[in-house]
């Protein structure tokens, strides 16, 4: 049963007053002399008052002492024990105060525990943060190195791009030269085709002339053959003449023989026969000469015919040579036309190549721009990385500060003893 201290004081006062009243009533009945009655009553009343006051104040003082002792412990940071007042039948405000103090201790214990755990965690986190920031610093150093490499690579790339651009320009110039050469080739092929055309025309005209000549030679050959036939006819006539001359000779011989047989009478006849024989001989000789001449003419005619045949053969071979020459000219024309076509297509291709080379130059210049942008971006990245490194270092410092703060906090809460029941 809870009783307030003020009530306890009132109750004590009432009890003391009541006891003095009760004693005043009781003492006369006890047979105490009258003279003493007043004294005994007052003494008893005082005694009761003293007793009550002692008991009450002792209990109160003890509680207050407990409380002040607990407060002192709290001041020293000992949170390991709870405040326990002596058991009482009538708890009062001190009990409340003790309970409040206990709740304070409890709250403080929770607080300090939480602070400790949090500080430990903060310290751990700060250490982790420090380690992480160191790693990040290392990483950003690597990033910085890499960025430097990239920067150098970008320079090399820029040089390469410059060289590529130069090479492509040279290639474009070479392609222009090729195009010019192809145009010259086309012109030369055209000239060749024209010349070959003229040559073919000449060959054809020559072939025509040769054909005419061949016809003439053939008719000449026919004329010579007919001439030979005529000559052979003459030869036959000469043979007849020769035969006649031989017969005449024979007749003259026989006439001479007959004349000789006739003796003196045949003498004149013999002379005539001799003359006839001479004429026949002369005719025979002439016929022989004619035959010889005819033979010579025939041989010459045969030679002419042979040479004509040879000429015909040669002319034929010449004609076939001319034909093949014409065909060769045609082939030359064809080849020249093909060459011209190819040279033209080469020129077109070279033009396309030149265009392509120009586009490549443009693309290379764009690449160069991109490379320059890359280099600039790389520098920015480098700067950012340096900034990041600085930030990392600052962060590392801050983490160290944080760890220090956490240590200080731990140090600050270390004097709170939480006892064994709380870790």
């Amino acid at each position: 049963m809870r009783v307030q201290i003020s009530h306890k004081f009132v109750m004590g006062f009432i009890i003391v007053v009541g006891s003095s009243v009760f004693l005043n009533l009781l003492v006369p009945r006890l047979g105490v002399p009258e003279a003493w009655q007043q004294l005994v009553s007052i003494s008893c009343a005082l005694l009761v008052g003293l007793l009550f006051g002692w008991v009450f104040s002792k209990a109160f003082t003890a509680n207050i002492g407990f409380l002040s002792e607990a407060a002192e412990r709290l001041r020293l940071g000992d949170l390991s024990r709870q405040i326990r007042l002596r058991g009482t039948t009538f708890p009062d405000e001190t009990t409340d105060l003790a309970a409040s103090l206990n709740r304070v201790v409890e709250t403080l214990r929770d607080l300090v525990g939480t602070i400790r755990a949090s500080a430990s965690k903060v310290a751990e986190s700060a250490q982790g943060l420090s380690a992480t920031s160191e790693e990040m610093t290392a990483s950003s150093h690597e990033v910085s190195n890499t960025v430097e490499q990239i920067s150098r690579g970008a320079e090399t790339q820029a040089e390469m791009v410059e060289r590529s651009s130069k090479l492509i320009r040279e290639m474009a110039m070479a392609v222009d030269l090729v195009a010019a050469a192809a145009a010259k080739v086309a012109a030369a092929a055209s000239e060749t085709a024209r010349t070959a055309h003229g040559g073919g025309e000449t060959a054809r005209a020559t072939t025509e002339k040769m054909k005419h000549l061949l016809v003439d030679v053939e008719s000449n050959g026919r004329q010579i053959v007919s001439f030979g036939v005529q000559v052979q006819k003459i030869g036959k006539i000469v043979e007849v003449i020769t035969g006649i001359a031989q017969k005449t000779n024979l007749l003259a011989l026989n006439a001479t023989i007959e004349a000789a047989r006739a003796g003196e009478y045949g003498r004149g006849f013999a002379v005539v026969a001799e003359e006839i024989r001479k004429l026949a001989d002369s005719t025979g000789e002439s016929a022989g000469e004619i035959t010889t001449l005819i033979e010579a003419i025939r041989e010459e005619g045969q030679q002419v015919q042979a040479s004509m045949k040879q000429t015909l053969v040669e002319m034929d071979s010449g004609r076939s040579a001319l034909d093949s020459t014409g065909r060769a000219f045609d082939e030359i024309i064809q080849t020249a036309v093909n060459t011209q076509t190819k040279a033209t297509s080469i020129a077109e291709l070279a033009q396309q190549q030149t265009d392509g080379a120009g586009k490549m130059v443009v693309a290379i210049e764009e690449i160069a721009k991109v490379v320059a942008d890359n280099a600039a971006a790389t520098q920015q990245v480098s700067a950012s990385t340096q900034e990041q490194t600085a930030s990392m270092e600052e962060m590392a410092h801050a983490a160290q500060d944080l760890a220090l703060l956490a240590d200080q906090l731990l140090e600050a809460v270390r004097r709170f003893q939480l006892g064994s029941e709380r870790a």
């Binding site: 024979l250 011989l253 026989n254 001479t256 023989i257 000789a260 024989r277």
Partner: protein, 142 residues
């Protein structure tokens, strides 16, 4: 002076007096005489009668040579016979006084009556009677 018909037998020049020549005829071909002895080369139609012909150069032992297309026909009172020659020549007048006797061992076989120098050419004069006698002696045995 006497007229002599000149002809060649192989490379030798022979002569025959015109008095011993009946006629000269052309004879391109001969008719074959069956079983005729070797000197006879055939027969020809001489003015309607058959005239046997002998190979004179072959009979006199000359090497085979071309034959003239003409044949010398002997007079009928001497012999009905034709003679082939290598080449028939002309009729020339020769002086009988210039006839030289043949010399050497050929005389017996060559039937030469004598040798006449005509313009630097030696002409063997054919001995017809001896030739005919030889022929008869050689052919009657058949």
């Amino acid at each position: 002076m006497e007229l002599v018909l000149l002809f060649r037998l192989a490379d030798e020049t022979y002569g025959l007096e015109v008095a011993q020549v009946q006629e000269i005829v052309e004879a391109p071909n001969f008719d074959y005489i069956p079983l005729a002895p070797p000197p006879f080369v055939g027969a020809i139609n001489f003015h309607g009668s058959i005239l046997p012909v002998i190979d004179l150069p072959g009979y006199l032992g000359f090497a085979k040579a071309e034959r003239d297309g003409r044949v010398i026909v002997l007079p009928p009172h001497i012999c009905i016979l034709g003679l082939t020659v290598t080449v028939l020549g002309r009729i020339v007048p020769l002086a009988r006084e210039s006839l030289l006797p043949p010399g050497g061992d050929r005389q017996q076989d060559a039937y030469i009556r004598g040798v006449i120098n005509h313009c630097g050419e030696m002409i063997n004069l054919l001995d017809i009677p001896r030739l005919l006698a030889s022929l008869e002696g050689n052919t009657t045995s058949i």
